[in-house]
Amino acid sequence: MNTLKRYVRPEQIRELSLVLLIFVIIVFFGAQIEGYYSGRTFNRIAGDVAIIAVVAVGQTLVVLTRNIDLSVGSIVGFTAYFVGTQLARHNDITLPWAVLLAIGVGALMGLINGVVIAYGRVPAIITTLGTLALYRTLLVNYSNARTVIIDTLPKWVPELSRVNLFSLGTLEFRPMVVLAVAMVVIFQLVITYLPYGRRLYAIGSNPEAARIAGFPTPRIVMTAYVLCGALSGLAGFMFLARFGNITVVAAQGMELQAVAAVVVGGVNIFGGSGTMIGALLGAVMINTLEQSLRRWLQISEFWRNALLGLLILLAVASDAVILNRLRTLWARSGLQIKADAVQAQVQEESRHVA
C-alpha cells in the first residue's frame, strides 16, 4: 500500500477515476442509444473535444498560477472570424501562414490580459471579464454584423476537418484531433520538464514563497496569459476549419466549457496542482456526457450550460471533500521525519496516557 502511495499521487487517482467514469458513460449510453458505437459518434465528439482541449490547455497554464482567463471564448471567436475574412479576401494564404496569423492575434490578446494582470495588478477575474466583453465587441464592430461563409474560403480549409489522417478500426483520426493531442502532450512535457513549467506550479502553490525565492512572478504569469491567448488563437483557427460559417456569436460561452474541462479534469482552481492530461480527460468527459445526453433525451442545446454548471459545482465540491481527505491520508503515511522520531512520539504519547 505504501509503495503504491509513493508512486501514485491523489491527483492521479482523480485522473484514473475520470477514465473510469468516461468508460461507464460510454457503456451506459451504448446500451441506451441505438447505433451509439459508430465512427460518426466518435467524430462528432472528437471534433468538439479537439477545440475545447486546446483552449483548456491554455486555461490550465493560467489556472496553475492561481489566475483565470475568462476571455478565451471571445479570443477564439475573434481569431476564427478574423482569419476567416482574411482567407476569404486573400485566397492564396497558405496553411502555415493562416495558423501563424491565428496564433499571433490570439497571443496579442493574451498579452493585453497578461500585462494588465501581472504588471497592473488588476485581479484576473475582473480583467478577463472586461476583455471577454471587449474582444467580443471588437469582433461585432469589425464584422459589421456580416458572417464568414464557408464557400468564400479556400477549399483546403473545410477539407482539414474532413480528411482522415489514419484510422483505428472504424475510428478515423482527423488532423484537428491529432493537433489537439499533440498540444496536450507538448504542454504536459513543458509543465513537467521545463523549469518554466515548474515555476507555474510554484507560484500557484505559494505566491509568497515564490516571491521570497526570487521568481520573476509577473513575467511568468504574463507569459502564461500569452500562451493561453496563442492557444486560443490556434483553437480559433480550428473552429474556422470545423464550422466554416462564422458569425459574431462564434464560440460564445466557450470560456465556461474550458473552465469546466479544467476543473473537472482535476486542476485546482486555487492553483498549484493539475495536469494537461487531466484537462483533456475533463474535456472528453464533459463532451461525451453532453452529446450523449442530448441524443438520449432529445433535449436542446440550451441545456448545455446547465450541465456545465452542475459539473463545475460537482468537481469543485468533490475536490474540497474527497481530494483533501486523500491528501491527508497520503500525508500521514510515509512522511515522518525519522523512524526513531516516530518511536519517540509513540513513547511520549504512551507516557501521556499513563
Binding site: 509513493r6 520538464y193 515548474r198 525565492a213 526570487g214 496542482s273 510515509g334 515522518q336 521525519i337 525519522k338
Partner: protein, 506 residues
C-alpha cells in the same frame, strides 16, 4: 570551537535603519564567524528581525555596510543574498505545498539546465537529506509535512545553495521537544562543516545549550557580544533590560472594586492552556510575555473571536460561554486589536462611521434607518473627550496619524460602554506624545470603574500601567506579579522560562 584567529565571514558595520518614528537599528556592528553558532538575543522590538531582514536583502540599510570575506557587498533582494551564500529559515517555513520535497529543495537553483531531470534531482535531494541524516520521501508533495520536516527541507535547500551563513529566526517556536533536539543536531552538524549560523530564540535554555557566542541587542543598539563561557543567563537578561521606566506615565492608585472577571483553567488545543486570572473593577491587569507567548490568543478567546475549548469564564460571577464577538460585546467586553488595519478600523470610512459601527442598532430611527445626527453627536463627543486631532468627524480614518487612529479605535469600543476593556498593544507604532495620552486615558477609564486587560510587549509600559501583571510563556501562565514585586528582570526571567520549574514545552 571557534578560534580567535578565524576571520569573520560576514561583517556588519554601523548599520542603521529607521521606520517612520522608530529607530529600528542604530549603528549596529557585528562579526559572524564560520563554524560558529551565534545567538542574537533581545526583547521584542530590539531590532533582531530588522537586522535579519537587512542581511537577507528584504530591507536595505539607511547607513552602514556589510562585508563578505572583507569585501563590501550590496544585498538588493533575497536572490542576491542567496548568491552571496546567505540563507534564512523562519518560524513558518516557506514551502510550496504542491511541489515534491525534492523540488522544494532545488526550486531556487538557476542551473538546472533547460530540461528538468527528475531522476537526477531525486537522487541529489536524497543525498543532501542523507547527509543531514533526515529521512523523508523526496517524491512526496510537501503538503502535510510536519513543521520540523518543513524546516529540514528548508535547511536542505540552504545546503544545496551552498549557504555559508544560515539565519534561523525562531526556528524552535512551534516544535516539540524531540523535534528541537533534531533541529539542534542539524545545526551542530552544519556548524562543524564550517557554516556560520545566526540563531534567534526567545528560549534562554536553548540559547545556552547551542550557542557559541551570544550577542544582545536592545532598542536597536548593540549592547554586548560574548563567547558562551563568558556570559550567564542572568547577565544576558540584565543586558536585554536596562531601560528606564521614567519616560512613562505611571498609573495612579485607584480603588480596586468588586470582582469583574474570573477566568479558570482556560485552554485552547495547541494554543494555550491552564490560564487562570481575575480582573477587578478599576484595575489594570497587564499581560506580559514575548512573541509567541499567546497573550493575544487569550484576549481573542475572551472576546469570542477564537473561542477557548476548555475552562470557564465568569463575568460578574456568572458563567458565560464566549462564542462570538457579538455576544461578548453585548456582555460588555470590548477588544481593541493590535492590528489597526486588519482587525480594528475600516480605513476608507469616516470617523463617525467607524465609531458607530459596532453599535449601529442604537442609532436606528423607528423606520430602521440610521439617524445621522445621533451618530455624529456621539462621534463629536469622543473627538473632544479623547482629543482626536482631525479637521472634522467626517474625515476618512485612513488619513489620520497612527495615534489618532488608535484614539478612534478606542472611541469605537468605548462607545459600546464596556465593563471590561481588552487593549492589545494600544501604543504600538504611535509617537511618545500620543502614547502618554493613551496612558492617561487608560488611567481615567480604570478610575471610572472599568476592568482593563493591557496586553503589551513594551515591558516598561506594562510595569508602569498595571496593578498586577500576568506573565505568559508559550501559552502557559508563568505567574502573577503585583505592582510592588514586579521588576523588569523578574518578568523577563519568567517570560523566558529561566530558573522556573513550572515552564515546560507544549
Amino acid at each position: 570551537m571557534p578560534g580567535d584567529a578565524k576571520k569573520p565571514v560576514l561583517e556588519i558595520r554601523h548599520i542603521s535603519k529607521r521606520f517612520d518614528t522608530t529607530q529600528a537599528l542604530d549603528a549596529v556592528s557585528l562579526d559572524i564567524y564560520p563554524g560558529e553558532i551565534h545567538a542574537l538575543l533581545g526583547e521584542n522590538g530590539a531590532g533582531k528581525s530588522t537586522l535579519i531582514k537587512i542581511m537577507t536583502g528584504v530591507h536595505s540599510p539607511d547607513q552602514g555596510e556589510i562585508l563578505l570575506d572583507g569585501k563590501p557587498i550590496r544585498i538588493g533582494n533575497t536572490v542576491e543574498a542567496q548568491a552571496y551564500g546567505i540563507a534564512a529559515i523562519y518560524q513558518e517555513p516557506m514551502i510550496f505545498p504542491d511541489l515534491t520535497v525534492a523540488e522544494n529543495i532545488f526550486i531556487s537553483h538557476r542551473d538546472q539546465g533547460a530540461i528538468l531531470r527528475w531522476g537526477k534531482m531525486y537522487r541529489a535531494a536524497e543525498a543532501i537529506l542523507g547527509q543531514l541524516d533526515v529521512h523523508l520521501d523526496v517524491r512526496q508533495p510537501a503538503r502535510g509535512l510536519t513543521l520540523a520536516a518543513q524546516q529540514a527541507v528548508e535547511i536542505a535547500k540552504a545546503i544545496s545553495l551552498k549557504a555559508r551563513v544560515l539565519i534561523m529566526d525562531e526556528p524552535t517556536a512551534s516544535l516539540s521537544a524531540h523535534e528541537v533536539t533534531q533541529l539542534f543536531k542539524l545545526a551542530q552538524a552544519l556548524r562543524d562543516q564550517g557554516v556560520a549560523i545566526v540563531f534567534i530564540s526567545h528560549r534562554m535554555e536553548e540559547v545556552f545549550e547551542i550557542a557559541d557566542r551570544v550577542t544582545v541587542l536592545r532598542d536597536g543598539k548593540f549592547i554586548s557580544s560574548k563567547l558562551r563561557g563568558q556570559v550567564t543567563p542572568e547577565g544576558a537578561i540584565r543586558d536585554m533590560v536596562g531601560r528606564q521606566v521614567e519616560e512613562f506615565f505611571a498609573k495612579g492608585q485607584t480603588q480596586r472594586g468588586e470582582l469583574l472577571l474570573s477566568v479558570r483553567g482556560l485552554g485552547k488545543e495547541g494554543v494555550f492552556s491552564e490560564v487562570s486570572f481575575e480582573v477587578y473593577r478599576g484595575e489594570v491587569l497587564g499581560f506580559a510575555g514575548l512573541v509567541g507567548s499567546r497573550r493575544t490568543d487569550v484576549g481573542l478567546a475572551l472576546f469570542g473571536v477564537e473561542p477557548a475549548d476548555s475552562g470557564e469564564i465568569l463575568l460578574n460571577g456568572k458563567v458565560e460561554r464566549m462564542r462570538c464577538p457579538d455576544q461578548a460585546l453585548r456582555l460588555g467586553i470590548a477588544y481593541v486589536s493590535e492590528d489597526r488595519r486588519a482587525l480594528g478600523l475600516t480605513m476608507p470610512m469616516s470617523i463617525v462611521a467607524n465609531i458607530s459601527l459596532p453599535m449601529l442598532r442604537e442609532y436606528l430611527s423607528g423606520l430602521g434607518l440610521i439617524k445621522r445626527s445621533a451618530e455624529i453627536a456621539a462621534a463629536e463627543q469622543f473627538r473632544q473627550r479623547l482629543s482626536i486631532r482631525a479637521p472634522s468627524v467626517h474625515v476618512e480614518v485612513a488619513r489620520l496619524s497612527g495615534g489618532n487612529q488608535q484614539k478612534v479605535m478606542l472611541s469605537k469600543w468605548l462607545n459600546a460602554r464596556p465593563q471590561l476593556l481588552i487593549l492589545d498593544e494600544p501604543t504600538r507604532g504611535i509617537d511618545v506624545g500620543a502614547k502618554a495620552e493613551v496612558h492617561h486615558m487608560i488611567n481615567d477609564l480604570a478610575a471610572q470603574g472599568l476592568g482593563i486587560i493591557l496586553i503589551s510587549s513594551d515591558l516598561p509600559e506594562v510595569l508602569a500601567m498595571s496593578d498586577r501583571i500576568l506573565v505568559m510563556r508559550e501559552g502557559r501562565p508563568m505567574g502573577v506579579f503585583t505592582r510592588g514585586e514586579a521588576t523588569q528582570e523578574k518578568i523577563l526571567t519568567a517570560a523566558m522560562g529561566q530558573n522556573s520549574g513550572a515552564g515546560g514545552r507544549v
